[in-house]
Amino acid sequence: MDTAEIRTLLARSQDAWNSGDGAAYGACFTADATDVTYAGTVYHGGEEIGRAHQTLFDSFLKGTRLTVDILEIRHYGADTAVVVTRGESAKGQPRKLGKLATYTVVRDTDGRWRIAAVQKTQHKPLMEAVSFRFQPGTRPAAR
């Protein structure tokens, strides 16, 4: 039930991205949320996240679609979950999902699930391969 609602929340943020709707994107976040982009910029609050993304949707991200593949959803208590995804924003079908994201989602005061925090990182396969080659112990168990 909650898991379905969380999937719906992420799908809604995806739809907002795909239609270039910054306000709808920002509305998926709590008023005090943080969004750390893959460039390491920290946006604070649903309103700021929405406004910044509207600017990006009108320029750098114009015409891009967001692909999100949910790797796992873990619940902590009744009102919080951590969601890990692989995703990408691209014009058309992305060749690979190069960005890892961790979402912390909460049931907000009005009962709706919203994103309280998200952070994204660009996967660097070459650096990772070097690390695994020289220190095999750094390879994650689940592959």
Binding site: V36, G77, T104, Q135, P140
Partner: protein
């Protein structure tokens, strides 16, 4: 005129063209490098946070919650500084996820502990952790989200911390706060600066 007579001027014209192209390329390279360095040097963050966890701005939670979260985070930093993988892993929940700045994703305490054992004996041997706290907020009664800037270092603590982190901590049934998820990202100052230059609206309030 024979073709032999026309060759020298054509060669010299070609040489002039090659030189002009070379000079243009060099000029462009110098401009690009200069531009890159300028962008890089003018891209310092304004919100550098606080080095003392207990002085961070909080939203929700009690003083005891703040102290509990900070004590877990300082135990993590202390474990890193001793290169103690087991103590490092102990501050995470059994099912925690840990995403590094290169996008490697570890699932569970055992996985991230084993990886840090390898790292503390190799790439990260002798390294220390620098943290600066940006904010801490509480959800429900047992969840905290903490944003930080940080870096690993050898020798002197760096002034500028090159990475940004989000921690989600939960209070477990034994009353201890543990890290349920950690996500690390390397700042890309030039990309960020270009975005602010072309789209000033993308600059966060905290960075104005």
């Amino acid at each position: 005129m024979t073709s032999a007579d026309t060759r020298p001027p054509r060669t010299s014209r070609r040489r002039t063209l090659v030189r002009a192209l070379g000079a243009t390329a060099l000029g462009l390279a110098v401009t690009a490098t200069g531009g890159y360095l300028w962008l890089d040097q003018t891209s310092d963050v304004r919100d550098t946070g606080v080095t003392e966890c207990v002085t961070v701005t909080t939203d929700g939670g009690t003083d005891a919650d703040l102290r509990g979260v900070c004590s877990t985070l300082s135990a993590m930093t202390a474990a890193w500084d001793r290169n103690d993988a087991d103590a490092f892993g102990a501050v995470f929940t059994a099912n925690a996820t840990y995403t590094t700045f290169i996008g490697t994703h570890y699932r569970g305490r055992e996985d991230l502990t084993a990886a840090h054992r390898a790292l503390f004996g190799g790439f990260l041997k002798g390294s220390k952790l620098a943290d600066s706290y940006l904010g801490m907020r509480f959800y429900a009664t047992d969840v905290a989200v903490v944003t930080t800037r940080g870096d690993r270092y050898d020798g002197d603590r760096p002034v500028e911390l090159s990475k940004t982190q989000t921690y989600t901590l939960v209070r477990e049934p034994d009353g201890q706060w543990r890290i349920a998820s950690f996500h690390n990202t390397q700042r890309q100052p030039v990309m960020e600066r270009i975005s602010y230059l072309f789209d000033p609206q993308t600059r966060p309030r905290a960075e104005r």
